[in-house]
């Protein structure tokens, strides 16, 4: 195992920074919205709930790849029976047909609270996570329970989420006949359109940004003749990166 990796520091991938800049989102806000919508309830429920399902299944997919729990969760090893009951109740709750998802999710908090109280924290030392001196994220009880349950550090979930965000990849697929099945990116695009955001007014764009938006439409059409997905991604990556650097140098 690599020991030099600091699990309390977050590496923000370039593509994620670029995507946030292009759509004028704050990195911290996007991450917080992701955290707020990842719940134990939605990891267990089959029914689709806007935003919640995407966020929770992003984590679900990650932990399914990692499979760290062959020996159980470290945090719950001392209270196995109780924890198992809580998860079973939430799972049963999810299967109930009669009430709405909102109501069921709210009710699940009762069990999440119980899990949160009883667990011995191993991977989440605190509910606050500092991105740097000025920006911090707040973990929900649901989110910390999900970390402890699967023996994962919060930074892993967040980095995995960010790594799936790429405007270049999304755009490159749009013009080909390759389906866009990246639901994490779909979540991000919902945030772009205002999902989960406090202030979803569209900010006034600078002249440079207006030019960029026009060019963005144009380049997608222009690369119609490039049929190789990787080549398309590279062209678009470069295009977005130039804009990102442009914006950052002018600020």
């Amino acid at each position: 195992m690599k020991t030099e990796i600091n699990n309390h520091r977050l590496t923000i991938p370039l593509e994620f920074r670029v995507a946030c800049t292009v759509y004028r989102l704050k990195e911290q806000e996007v991450l917080q919205i992701f955290i707020n919508h990842a719940t134990v309830y939605d990891s267990l429920a089959d029914a689709y709930s806007v935003g919640y399902s995407e966020a929770s299944k992003t984590i679900g997919l990650y932990v399914a790849e990692k499979r760290r729990t062959s020996n159980g969760s470290h945090a719950f090893s001392h209270c196995l029976a109780n924890a198992a009951n809580c998860f079973r109740w939430i799972s049963e709750l999810a299967k109930k047909v009669l009430s709405s998802s909102v109501a069921k999710r709210k009710k699940s908090l009762l069990y999440v609270d119980e899990l949160y109280k009883n667990m011995k924290r191993v991977y989440t030392s605190s509910d606050t996570f500092y991105l740097d001196e000025n920006r911090c994220l707040n973990f929900t009880k649901d989110f910390t329970v999900l970390c402890e349950l699967h023996n994962c550090y919060p930074a892993e979930y967040l980095e995995n989420f960010m790594n799936k965000i790429s405007t270049a990849e999304m755009q490159a697929r749009t013009g080909l006949k390759i389906p866009n099945d990246n639901f994490t990116m779909a979540f991000f695009m919902k945030v772009v359109l205002g999902f989960g955001r406090e202030n979803n007014e569209v900010a006034e764009f600078t002249e440079k940004e207006v030019d960029f938006i026009c060019e963005m439409d144009e380049i997608r059409l222009r690369i119609h003749n490039v049929r190789n997905l990787d080549q398309r991604i590279n062209i678009l990556k470069e295009f977005y990166l130039n804009h990102y650097q442009d914006i950052n140098t002018s600020n």
Binding site: G175, L221, R222, H224, N225, V226, R227, N228
Partner: protein
């Protein structure tokens, strides 16, 4: 090639044509003159691009339910792109334009052959 086209002239388009004293035929002619992959992909002129971009956007929207031969499209667009990069010289794109026009002709022939297949296959 000359054909007769019947189109509905929408009210807004007609009033613009009247206001600016433009013949609809002439306008449409000048628009379609500029719809061209060879010119668009070799050209540097900003004025020339709009008509082809409109075409590309139209294709993008229509792609789901059209009968485009996708295998041929992939193949010939690749050839188009390769030919383009090989032939782009400092001559304002003239050589490349001529070269990719040949590709377009071949592509067109291939598409027509593909569509005629259902007749020839039964012979």
């Amino acid at each position: 090639m000359e054909i007769t086209v019947n189109v509905q002239l929408p009210e807004d388009f007609m009033s613009l044509c009247t206001i600016y004293n433009i013949q609809p035929q002439q306008f449409i002619q000048s628009f379609i003159n500029k719809v061209s992959f060879p010119s668009y992909y070799t050209g540097t002129s900003k004025q020339m691009k709009w008509a082809t971009l409109f075409f590309l956007q139209y294709v993008e929207m229509a792609e789901q339910d059209s009968d485009t031969e996708y295998d041929l499209e992939d193949h010939y667009l690749q050839r188009f792109t390769d030919t383009l990069t090989e032939n782009m010289k400092n001559d304002g794109g003239a050589k490349a334009r001529a070269a990719v026009r040949v590709v377009m002709m071949d592509w067109q022939k291939a598409v027509l052959a593909e569509r005629a297949k259902y007749i020839t296959d039964k012979l």
